[in-house]
Symmetry: D2
Subunit: 196 residues, 4 copies
């Protein structure tokens, strides 16, 4: 099994330029390539001499979290822009208002977590055990995930996600642009799948 | 919403002592307590002065991944011992043999990842997009997860999981004991839920 | 004691624009501000109710490594450009050739480590116990340091260090530009201080 | 250059058993072995095919921080017990009282940082730029160091450091035992070297 680079059917976005998206898609494809490369190199070293290279094999495998999550998080990200922005669904509004007081309360909270210092992701999960949504910060692509929880919304806060269009001091503008382009129907579909 | 400490109905285990389990359950309950405490302190600081304490609030929130995943991973862990060990199911055998050559190939691979240096977890996930199982090492409770993937099997490799019974130099014995006590029917149920 | 924002007397650089440097200096000043803020908020919470806020205090303190190292690494970085580029010193050449075969061997190695995936720093340390130089990758500003070792050379590989001038795909060009502007006499002075 | 396992001339300790120390020294020797092994495997892969294995080489090298700092931190640790406990020196008392109010204030603070959740180290550094001592928590051996700062005192808070003698719930007792056995004259010598 080899992972394939997904194609995304993206509309013109508000506040996120075509050049920004192209640069970003180039980085995404690198993660797919490196998930496959990581697995290939482990397979080759194992075949060559599994005992001799046991240490290098283990330490290469340790990076699966970075490469795989780098790949998958970007797939969540770009997919959210497909088919263009839409208004929030009734279901999502109910669920998120239940936790954050109102839809506006959720948006305010999500933005605040997005302004966390450092680079990484802001992620809205559903705890499908307690049926509670949680918003968390993840450093890099893999450091800090809520274990096992399905992901409803993923905002890339690496500098490469916005520095074609904005300086780091302007990252609040990028967050506004990100939220303005979300297809909330897709997020609602993820919620329905997750809450089963 | 407040998280509650789960009770586990555990049989007598082979190679893992009652004292070891009690020590470990005590640590688990600490994670539940601290998920709730983290959320309480954020709420209190927000109410007291959200602007003044914005930094402390953000940096406290950053630890949600550690506390929540510490709680949830231990729930996966103890639940796996409930109702006693069982043989692997036909479904699991087919799926894991497809990736690792045979059931024995999977067990060998899982043990190797378990012997990774440092402390953390060995985790079997299902990539529910590609329907491929992956085994990964997670440092601490939250560093290195495969983003968004459901968890099928979770082996605690923190020193507290075995040092009542074994020294760190004997950790391979603990891994054998862990695997000897698994209720594979539960793991198969998780697989069925995850692959939908 | 409060940390002060250092002023750097920087010449015009080759391949690194004035706008890039200004953006970068702005980020540096944020680290100084946040080292002080972190300490202030801990002091205030301790004074308000040290027992009640013990958890928030500890979790805020945990970020000292990020903020302090973010501040200090940038001080190493900008200082290296002061007074303009210079040729390598005889002492440094001898020490680094002893480890990496030749000066060119060192430069090649340093560039390779610089091309590591992810964001962070490439750091040349001196192990002052064994008098051996080591080149290591540090993620973020604080993840992966060689404990206690003095730093001889620090190259910022966060995307903010080059994305005003280059895309992430062009980061090798930034590395060349970085090395073309180094005042190696300063690096030699750091070596002399470190090797005492 | 190959790193050698250091021998420590340790007295009988109060509250830390001989079996605990032997288990711990065994783990220390593993870090020395793995620093050397990491460098060997990188050299072998580079010689075999540097281009083909570029990824595995980089990802193996990324672990140098863990192995090297694991080695060096344990050397700081055991060395602190050599020649037996001693009272604090006048110099150290002055420096630490200047930051923490009194010697007792420093000890209280150091213990509090030691009780941070998770495993790692509590480290007293000297910022030799501002001549200010800082106490910080380091996760694992390498995550969170204050960049470039010399180390004055290092307390191992991995579970392996105390679980032969204490349960995790009793870790405050281990901290007391650790502090009761410190040769503060050595710490003062480190301070004198660091403050030059």
């Amino acid at each position: 099994m080899e992972y394939k680079i997904r194609e995304f059917n993206l509309p013109k976005l508000n506040g996120i330029s075509q050049k920004q998206i192209e640069t970003h898609l180039g980085l995404y494809s690198g993660y797919v390539t490196h998930v496959n490369l990581l697995r290939e190199q482990i397979a080759e070293l194992t075949e060559t001499d599994a005992d001799k290279y046991a240490y290098a094999i283990t330490e290469t495998r340790r990076r699966l979290g970075f490469e795989f999550s780098g790949m998958r998080m970007h797939e969540y990200y770009f997919e959210q822009f497909e088919n263009g922005s839409s208004v929030q669904s009734v279901t999502l509004d109910t669920v998120l208002s239940g936790k954050y007081g109102s839809w506006e309360g959720f948006i305010k909270h999500f933005k605040e977590v997005g302004m966390s210092r450092g680079i990484g992701w802001t992620v809205l999960y559903l705890d499908n055990v307690s049926q509670t949504p949680h918003t968390a910060w993840v450093t890099d692509h893999e450091l800090g995930h809520l274990a096992g929880l399905p992901i409803l919304l993923a905002m890339d806060m690496w500098e490469h996600a916005f520095m074609v269009d904005y300086t780091p001091a302007e990252k609040a503008k990028y967050i506004d642009a990100f939220l303005a382009n979300i297809n909330w129907e897709l997020v609602a579909t993820r919620y329905e799948q997750a809450s089963k």
